[in-house]
């Protein structure tokens, strides 16, 4: 057998804090060969990044390898001298980081940062190093590499920065590449480009990769094998097919059941959240760490001694850390989770947005601008937005960063006022009324759920007093006792225990805070709730539970929900109608079904195809967008999408605003391409139409299909 690039044996890492020893990684094993790519997947705090840092021998002062070894090409990294280690780093082992902007030195030219890598590992001249750097920048498909070399990091976009970081990592042709959530900070369409690049380069340079991510879909696209981690341990390991199609561990199964797939909606495949929350490292239970959250937990069996990882028979690489795996049938339809979602009857119109525009004026008070007389620049954050939302309906507003969805939310909530057009809530125009001028019944009729759980509650006040304030403010009740009762009622509504009323936000987990945020929004019996990326900052298993809660509440209260998101899988899952925004313009809107199938707007098509799908049975058409999202300060003329559109017709797209084509009832697309041609494309996702053909390749496909249709 070939000599492996990396061998990790029985690795255990602990953090030593004032509270004592906290194990971060327990008993980790891995063998990585040349050209192979392995995924590490798990929720936050599962120890996956710690492993990467241990391989780089860059653990913090308070972390220590307590057991085991990491061997790179047969050499134990922990035993290397400082100088030898330095020579390995950046030369043989390189790393790509989560936040490209933070990973580049802000006060050094990109060229310098690239050249020094070569110069410190090889004895070559400056000119040679410059040429090689230029070459590698071309390899990562950066336009105008010479200009990039002479730029500071802040002068290029996030996607380009990540390409620079990748180029930097590949400069000295390392044999091992670590990727730590390399696309988490990027927009979906940019992510798709980076993922493609990573695949292409790995094949080209034959680099072994460890790909760390919380996203199963990305792992599927980039890796051949995967380790699923939970609370510091690998719970399941195997090839992609083994783990994705024949999973044996209840946690793996739970994880898959938590993620929405862009091929199914809430009626076809309701999410099944894992109950409870991740145990804190020093509160891990005896026996199986997943025990308290597991549906298959058996007292006396699962909570005794430490559970070892054991190989699955007949499958060379597949191993699972579960004592009961042989007796479990994870694919059996469970009775606990009956389908609770039923198609809703759409009620009356709650929100009508009519040709709403929001322009910001930015004062340019330089002398030059004042002399020229154009001291005011206009940012067109929202252009001609029109759509409707009905009672009991979920309308998703989809777009990438900078598309104007947050501005739109601000106008809705009355923190900004519309420049023109109208926003009708229950028939009254509120678009130009600032929130402080709105009547109490208007403010309480429309409330918001925010994005960041750590930011959504005032850290100085108790949960109870924050909820009570809302109740009093909205005039639901004035009586102290009644308010108290109402607070408890609200907590119950979001499935939190009553004693949380006395707690401060810092005593709550992220998911719990988000629940309180939801309770706050529903306190005044709103007819419309605006949710701005409410689960994007949460871990997968928690996000599923919060999503479900939000959905149930909305249905039981017959509330209209405006759901702002960049996550199309979630939108597909949750929404009844979808509005796609690009640079402040609606490019397409219609029912979820309509938007997710042809005819597509070219942008929607690219957006949908960029979603990483964690389902081996789905075949995806790839549409990768070139370039970056233009700035809203200086939007392109004509169709806003013309600079990146893969199906651009020509001059007409640059010169004229596209017409709105009515594809069917409520399905409208703003594009110059004739409807017939738009209709002629294939759908992005194909759930393999011929199961037998695929079965030959992936024998367990049928089982998977049953799951996804359950």
């Amino acid at each position: 057998m070939r000599q492996p690039i990396l061998e990790i044996e029985n690795l255990s890492i602990s953090y030593f804090t004032r509270a004592g020893e906290i194990p971060a990684v327990v008993d980790f094993n891995m063998v990585l060969h040349e050209g192979e790519s392995i995924g590490l997947v798990g929720e936050s705090g599962c120890g996956k990044s710690t492993i990467a840092m241990a391989i780089m021998q860059y653990l913090g002062n308070n972390a220590k390898v307590v057991q085991g070894s990491i061997k790179f090409k047969g050499q134990d990294l922990a035993l290397l001298s400082k100088e030898k280690l330095r020579q390995f780093r950046g030369n043989d082992i390189a790393m790509i980081y989560q936040e490209p902007m933070a990973s580049l030195n802000p006060s050094m030219l990109i060229g310098q940062q690239l050249i020094e890598v070569l110069r410190c590992h090889q004895s070559i001249s400056k000119e040679q190093a410059y040429c090689q750097s230029l070459e590698i920048l071309e390899n990562v498909h950066l336009p105008d590499p010479q200009r990039v070399m002479a730029s500071y990091p802040h002068q290029i976009s996030g996607g380009q920065q990540q390409r620079v970081v990748i180029a930097m990592a590949l400069l000295s042709k390392p044999s091992l590449l670590l990727l730590d959530e390399p696309t988490t900070a990027l927009d979906v369409t940019v992510e798709a480009g980076i993922v493609e690049l990573v695949e292409e380069l790995a094949a080209k340079f034959n680099t072994a990769m460890i790909y760390i991510s919380h996203n199963l879909g990305l792992i599927l696209e980039t890796c051949s094998r995967v380790n699923v981690m939970y609370s510091g341990q690998v719970v399941e390991v195997g090839t992609i097919e083994e783990v994705f199609d024949r999973m044996k561990h209840p946690y793996t199964k739970g994880l898959f059941d938590c993620i929405p797939l862009p091929t199914a909606d809430k009626y076809a495949r309701p999410l099944k959240p894992i109950r409870g929350q991740l145990p804190l490292p020093h509160q891990r239970p005896a026996g199986c760490f997943f025990g308290p959250r597991c549906d298959h937990f058996v007292a006396g069996t699962c909570d005794q001694q430490r559970i070892e990882i054991s190989a699955v028979q007949d499958q060379q690489d597949h191993a699972v850390r579960c004592v009961r795996w042989q007796e479990l049938d994870l694919y059996a339809p469970s009775e606990v989770m009956t389908v609770q979602a039923e198609p809703q009857v759409v009620g009356e119109e709650i929100l009508t947005v009519n040709d709403m525009q929001k322009y910001y004026e930015i004062k340019d008070d330089s002398l030059l601008a004042m002399i020229k007389g154009n001291s005011v620049k206009v940012v067109k954050a929202n252009e001609h937005l029109s759509f409707k939302a009905h009672a009991g309906e979920t309308v998703a507003i989809v777009g990438e960063s900078g598309c104007g969805k947050s501005t739109f939310a601000k106008v809705l909530m009355g923190l900004e006022s519309a420049s023109s057009g109208e926003v009708l809530l229950n028939g009254e125009d509120i678009g130009k009324t600032h929130v402080t001028k709105r009547r109490t019944d208007q403010t309480s009729a429309m409330q918001m759920v925010f994005q960041n759980p750590f930011d959504t509650l005032n850290p100085s006040l108790t949960i109870g007093s924050q909820l009570a304030r809302v109740i009093r403010k909205f005039g639901v009740s004035k009586d102290k006792k009644e308010i108290q009762a109402k607070v408890l009622e609200l907590l119950d509504l979001v499935k939190l225990p009553a004693d949380f009323a006395k707690r401060k936000p810092r005593q709550l987990s992220g998911g719990q805070k988000q629940r309180v945020g939801i309770a706050r929004a529903f306190a005044g019996n709103p007819s419309l709730v605006v949710a701005d990326e409410p689960v994007s900052a949460l871990d997968v298993s928690v996000a599923a539970a919060v999503t479900r809660l939000l959905m149930n509440l909305q249905q039981s209260q017959q509330t209209s929900l405006v759901f702002i998101s960049h996550d199309l899988s979630l939108v597909r899952y949750l929404a009844d109608r979808v509005v796609v925004i690009y640079l402040g313009n609606i490019v397409e809107q219609g029912s979820t079904e309509e938007v997710f199938s042809p005819p597509y707007h070219p942008y929607t098509e690219a957006l949908i195809s960029a979603i990483p799908v964690a389902d081996t049975s789905v075949q995806k058409k790839r549409v990768i967008l070139e370039g970056d999202i233009p700035s809203a300060m200086n939007p392109p003329s004509g169709c806003p999408f013309n600079t990146r559109c893969p199906r651009k017709l020509g001059k007409i797209c640059e010169e004229q605003k596209p017409p709105e084509i009515e594809a069917s009832g409520g399905h409208r697309i703003a594009c110059h391409i004739p409807l017939v041609e738009l209709r002629a494309v294939d759908p992005v996702f194909m759930v393999n139409p011929n199961p037998s053909l695929k079965e030959a390749k992936k024998p367990h496909l049928k089982v998977i299909k049953n799951v996804s249709n359950k």
Binding site: M56, Y58, N61, R86, Q87, F88, R89, G90, N91, A94, M95, Y97, E99, A102, S103, L104, N105, P106, S107, M108, E116, V117, C120, H121, Y152, H154, Q155, V165, M168, D365, S366, L367, L368
Partner: protein, 310 residues
Amino acid sequence: MIKLITRRIGVMLLTMLVVSVILFLALELNIDSVAIKVLGPYSSEEQRQLWLEANGYHRPVLERYLSWAGSFMSGDFGDSIRFRVPVADILWERLGNTLILAGVTFGIMIPLSILLGVLSGMKEGSLLDRIISLICIITTSIPEFASAVFLSAIFVFSWQLLPGTSSMLAGFDPVQLILPAMVLIGYGFGYVARMTRASMAEVMSTHYIRTAVLKGLPYRQVIFRHALRNALIAPFTIIMLQVNWLLSGVIVVEYAFAYKGFGALLLEASLNSDVYLIEACTMVAVCAAVLTQLIADIGYSYLNPRIRFS
């Protein structure tokens, strides 16, 4: 960048204007008190009126301010009441003396504090860091007048190494600068060192330093090429703002050691209600402070490429 500089200069001029108006109004709005200060408390009412008339004090305030500001800008600050000579004659000489003292102080204090700050911030929490931090806390807790007392007691009276006053009566003597400079450095370096340390420690924990280390760069290169450049941006501003502090410290030190400098002059002028001298000294002090603030702002944006190229 040019836009930013012109803007800053504009703000600076506006600040100077407002300060001069406030100062003028505070000291010369009540013309009778000006006359009393100039002619002394025992002058007769008649004498005062004559003097006011002769010096144009019965004109409207705005007109008086404009003529005052005009002669101020041409370098005519009026006559000192106490010294009976034009203010300009003493002011520049005293300012020169203070510049010497300030120069010596800064020349030693800045390199020392940056060195200590960088050493301390490079490895946060190390023994060296803790020792340096403790020294800094202690020295910044001893005000100038107290350290002047302590150091004099040691170097002047116990060991009799240094002269106790720095009046330089027999001509310029560098030895007499030692004690005042020591006092100023002692109180001032800790602050700059702590700021440098904080900035350095912050930079050392950034992701781009991690990137630099994991690129396999030698540690020296990580510190000198990657860390220092970023870590010294913030202290630069702080150092420039120290000029403002130094002017305060200089008053105490010059008073304590009878050094014939600008600070002692200002104090003397205030204690004697020497109107024109106060005006001139204050404007000079504010001008120095605002100018260094300007340099700090421009320097900060120059050192920081994120601002320079935006």
